[in-house]
Symmetry: D2
Subunit: 437 residues, 4 copies
């Protein structure tokens, strides 16, 4: 596989400094995965609560498998796999790599034990560092390593959301981590203000020297009519008002498929919301069960719920191009985009963003757009198995923009395209309103 | 409901000539539905072969219900329904009208009998004609009548495709209508030629004085990079070559969800294709089981199959804007767009289009595009139940463009947006290739 | 296939009188099937409301197929099938005969039309009569013909219960046949009285010269402890009291599998019972929707419901041996057992039986027993496809005894073993209580 | 709950010796559960491989819950539960106790951790011993304790079969325990010999002073025709011959429901049999994947497979009364019935039984009978939640007799009635043939 053949966009590191930066990024990202698993027992790390989620142990192993399969195997002299069975066990969806363990049965892999997976990680880490020390100047290799790190960061977010789902299935409502005392929150959220955008012929998609996934490319022109975006995210108090107004019982607010989904799944509130004994709602999160935080962003919404809320509010969801074009001028101000990989996440729950203008773009909740996940004009995939990374999922999913409180530091990006089916709710997914002007 | 409140685009008829035209269109369209049912027995008209399909009798009744509910009820003095139970029985999906009979149980409605439904049609026709004679100059009324006629024409196509599916479930492979002897077809299809389009900022969506559905509006600008479209449709011989080349067994050609769908449904060829005893393929159609017609368009493909074929061919599906922009200059030449409503369909099977340049745009098979079915910028729905017509289906479906051999005369339109889920195959759905240039 | 090889028990007719009797029975039974279809349209006869039920047209064809396949094919010189496709279309479950049309798709067979099936019947009838005229003295042939007639009578009952289910799916609640005015029913049902039986070593199973199915053989000894049976059937008023007492909401009354079934299917009353607008219950039957008849037997109960009712009443279901041993002394008095085949059924709804002692044994509702459907000691099946008649269904079903108002005249028998899965409710199935003494 | 009100049959211990015996039995049985979990990690103990199986940790907790709920709660002064949430988490199916955690989600209970469950066990053990020391002379209490011990022994067998199923889902085929070297097995199994039984009026059901479950009572008379039983169990070599003879592809050998099950589940061999690379079969067991042992009993058969094999062999399954009547005279010789509770199991795989006459009755594989699981005449359940133990499962299941290599020492009994649905295969379930004589 040639670097030139890879559609991912990465810089050409030419100096030793860049090389050392990659080594240190590698160490930091790998270490962060272990840090995320730290509060969990081996039992916690083994269970799988639904087919869409994976066990923590599997995340730890699969991200290691990615480096072993895509980096070490073609580049390491005398390559021998750590364990021959792991090639199948920890392949996620790469048909090009061969067979794989059925996804819904990942939670049955009590063997290898967590300690063996940790040994696997240590082994691959050591071999990766040796490889990078020898061949670190190879641009193609660097691109793959960077891809592996970005890939691991994606799994770091999934690790947290998957654990949250697992813990939510336990009637004892255990917390992943105890909440730290928080500064007093404002009792009242400000009324929603809007930011107007002129539209016109704009460019969207990744640009510049940094990394991006193939699905953010190529940068291209698109035409937008004038529009406005909600300056802040829809918050929990607003969503509770939607429920109180019969939002889940009024078919005119829902897409037909969403309305059928409500009925089939008996859905009448966001995932993890629970009727409080004293009336109102609690919500379950990584800090356990807590009362609503009315002015903090609503999370764990499906596309259908986000869309219905927007219709109820007399608005609509933005397109992803609208989101990106509006967000572009503000990006240099976003703290979430400036953090270093491996830096500890300050929070694992969304909170109300302070300030004026467009806010809460990153680091709170992913924001559903009305855009179906589709290839950008001129999109092409890499050859070989690694080309299965993104392209084959571009159907029947919708794009979310921004990033969430579970996104690891240094991973968010203006042109980032997250995507999920319309019924997915276990991510930190919320919404920002849009309207025509 | 005010006409001004309706987003459908229709002319304002001011002359008696236009009024007479509407009356004659009404008679012609209504008559055509009966003509389509003519070759069928009462038993044929009652059965439902799958939840997605409806019985012919139900189509005949529901299209009548549409006029009774949306035109007569608000406009007829002293309105009384033909039968109080029909309001529920023949409501398709309008929550605003109230309860409805469960869709998968439409085939169990052996009562009312077919003759009673025919009486229902005659009654409503007579009342409609009386109403139009009295209030025909009312623009809002005319808009609704036109909507009802367009709606009935949509059901005329479904009536044929639903009957085809029903007959395909019968091991005796009965024909809907015997085939007429055909002129000798050319033994060899011409190689695929391409038509290049410059793209740029184009306008798409309905324009001009004629009718369109709300989903074709508003006309708006969009930006296209340069591209090329296949001048003709992918034909049966080409699709057989795809199969022979292992097309259904190579995961790298398929979207991931499509690949899973193949496995779950044991799909290895287009719907209605059957292995011929003497080798090769037959296909079942409205004329019964017949050998492939290699140079005629391939039909009954899902989005997944169309997409996989395009990838195999080194091409891709067009977007709907690409399709419309390329087709626009040729539209004045398309015979299918010039036919009068109610004119008998000359064919009920697709055939190879003659000529040069972009061809086969209309009247052969609907053409899958890669565009998810979404609202046009500025889209809005009508108020009231009739507003449920299109908007609530704009998710997890993909747009098809053109029209098919089952589309009734006078119904096709350049800006027409047909839409189905990615697994739907019982329509006359095929594909035209696209590529970047 | 030799008659000696058949386990069915039939007389050896030696005289011409017996021969004529068979011919006249054949004509009467065949005619009765047509009479049952008489109130129905071709549409009514084509539809299938659930996989367990079959269309009337299918019943008419399948019973004809049985004679054609098992009687004409091996015995008719120069046999040629009426239509080659019918061998597959109208095979129910005989693997020994070859392929068969999938059961859940019987309602999609709009072709052959009803008139063609009637022609099929007439053709086979004529050939059967010719065959019997020539070879009527052949005992093996007579046994098969008798089996075919008994088989057709079973389908006559199913025809009625399947039509009832179909009509129940129609919101217009159409009646199969209008109700005749009935004599005033007694306002109050007598309290339940009990009939005690000594038990001991008893013989059960068919005996004597008449026909029986193989599953009623061989007659054999079994030991019974003393017991008592309810003299009459559980009636609708009593079942309404069970509901009013929370019967469907008290897990201690239900078998665990039944309790899960209630929850999964949202079941809270017998099939066809509908909450009346004025309070209380109506029930849907072959005469349409009517108020409960409190003192008439409760019908359309599953095994689970019958068992739960019995537990609520401080009783239990009888075993089939208990039922047969208790009923044996009274059989010579049962009018239902004395009727001639083909005689019109006086009623198509169960009613309270008059008199004293064990009553309502036949002609009202089938009575669930606690006996799993199992082979009698020494049971053996016939060789060949006809041996698939009963034996292969002897698992996970429970035996019902007696007969119902839908059982054709001349078909009931003391040793008759009807059988259905524990969740079946669309038959006229009720219960008689039992208890230890 | 009064002892007199309990249908379980237990002795009335009057001496201190008997009291000490119960204490020592309690300690031994409880210790044995821990010994069974000893080879497993916390991860192994947490996972659940299918809804029918439970995690080892859950078994350890639930058996403890049984003592806490049914013994300590009504008898311990000042009872306070170890943890209030455990009442719900570890209730299996007792509606009388209240809510319970959904069975298919037992594997998601990563909390409480295994160490907490072990602490729960230690706590309840200590309280139980204190209670028994104080009130050990109370016969009702003793009966409940004995029931709890028998209950725990049942779960000891399930623990092993559930772990076997879990390990079988791991592509690495891990062994629960390494196999010990075995004495050379005979190369050839003896031909099947038969033991004839006269039948007649026999008594079956528990008798004598020892414990039995309520479903083994009351002892009662039943009548049997003469019959013969296979002297030994059907072995793996014979079952392989059945497969080689097309056993899984011949519908005439199967019950209709079994035939449909084969097709729906794609079943063509016993559970845990795997095609060996070198041809023939391996089987997966608690010692990992191993070649067939041709003369050892076939195991992991469903009722359908046992029944089909018997038909293929020209025989049938015995009834449970036939089995018990034939086994009764030999019981005093069965080593498996003489072992003390808590004694280590010498083997965890079935092997060929040596000797003459009826052999392999206990300690190898449970033997399917053709008897549906039904109440014995006069059966009654205990009042209260403990009465849910057996009775509510008496439908749509079939009885297995004997015991298996996974049955703990001291738990087997002549009158023991094990029961499973017809498709269950994860138990050590095999068969012994029967035939009429």
């Amino acid at each position: 596989m040639r670097a030139g053949g890879l559609p991912w966009c990465t810089p050409s590191p030419e100096s030793e400094a860049q090389m050392n930066d990659l080594l240190s990024r590698f160490a930091a990202v790998r270490r962060h995965s272990l840090a995320l698993a730290e509060p969990l027992s081996a039992e916690d790390c083994c269970a799988q609560s639904m087919p869409d989620a994976s066990p923590v142990k599997w995340h730890l192993a699969h991200t290691t498998w990615f480096f072993e399969t895509f980096v070490l195997e073609p580049n390491e002299a005398g390559f021998r796999p750590f364990h021959p069975a792991f090639r199948v066990l920890f392949n996620s969806y790469y048909n090009g790599v061969g067979a794989r363990h059925p996804r819904p049965q990942r939670g049955l892999l009590t063997r290898p034990a967590l300690v063996e997976v940790l040994a696997y990680r240590a082994n691959v880490d050591q071999r990766m560092q040796a490889l990078l020390a020898r061949q670190g100047g190879n641009a193609a290799l660097q691109t793959l390593v960077e891809l592996g790190l970005q890939h691991e960061q994606q799994h770091q977010e999934l690790l947290l959301t998957d654990v949250l789902h697992l813990l939510s299935c336990n009637p004892m409502a255990p917390a992943y981590r105890d909440a730290r005392p928080q500064a007093d929150a404002p009792a009242v959220a400000p009324a929603l203000d809007w930011v107007e955008c002129a539209g016109g012929l704009v460019e969207v998609g990744h640009t510049g020297p940094g990394f991006s996934f193939d699905n953010e490319l190529p940068r291209h022109a698109t035409y937008l009519a004038p529009y406005a975006l909600g300056a802040r995210l829809v918050n929990q108090g607003e969503f509770a008002a939607f429920i109180a107004d019969g939002g889940y019982a009024r078919p005119e607010l829902w897409l037909a498929e969403g309305w059928d989904w409500l009925a089939a799944q008996h859905i009448a509130h966001p995932l993890y919301w629970r009727a409080a004994e004293e009336g109102g709602w609690n919500r379950f999160g990584l800090h356990g069960e807590q009362p609503l935080t009315p002015h903090a962003p609503a999370a764990h919404l499906s596309y259908f719920e986000a869309d219905a809320y927007a219709r109820w509010a007399g608005a609509r969801l933005p397109t992803e191009a609208e989101w990106e074009a509006a967000a572009a001028p503000t990006v240099h101000l976003a703290p979430a985009l400036l953090a270093h990989a491996g830096a500890p996440s300050p929070r694992i729950e969304p909170q109300a963003a302070a300030g004026n203008g467009l806010r809460g773009l990153f680091g709170e909740v992913w924001q559903w757009t009305q855009s179906s996940y589709a290839p950008y004009p001129g999109f092409r995939t890499a050859e070989g198995a690694v080309g299965e990374y993104n392209g084959k999922f571009m159907v029947n999913q919708y794009v979310l923009r921004g990033s969430s409180c579970a996104t690891p530091a240094g991973h968010a990006r203006l042109s980032y395209r997250n995507f999920f089916p319309t019924t997915a709710r276990w991510q930190f997914s919320g919404l920002r309103l849009a309207r025509d002007v």
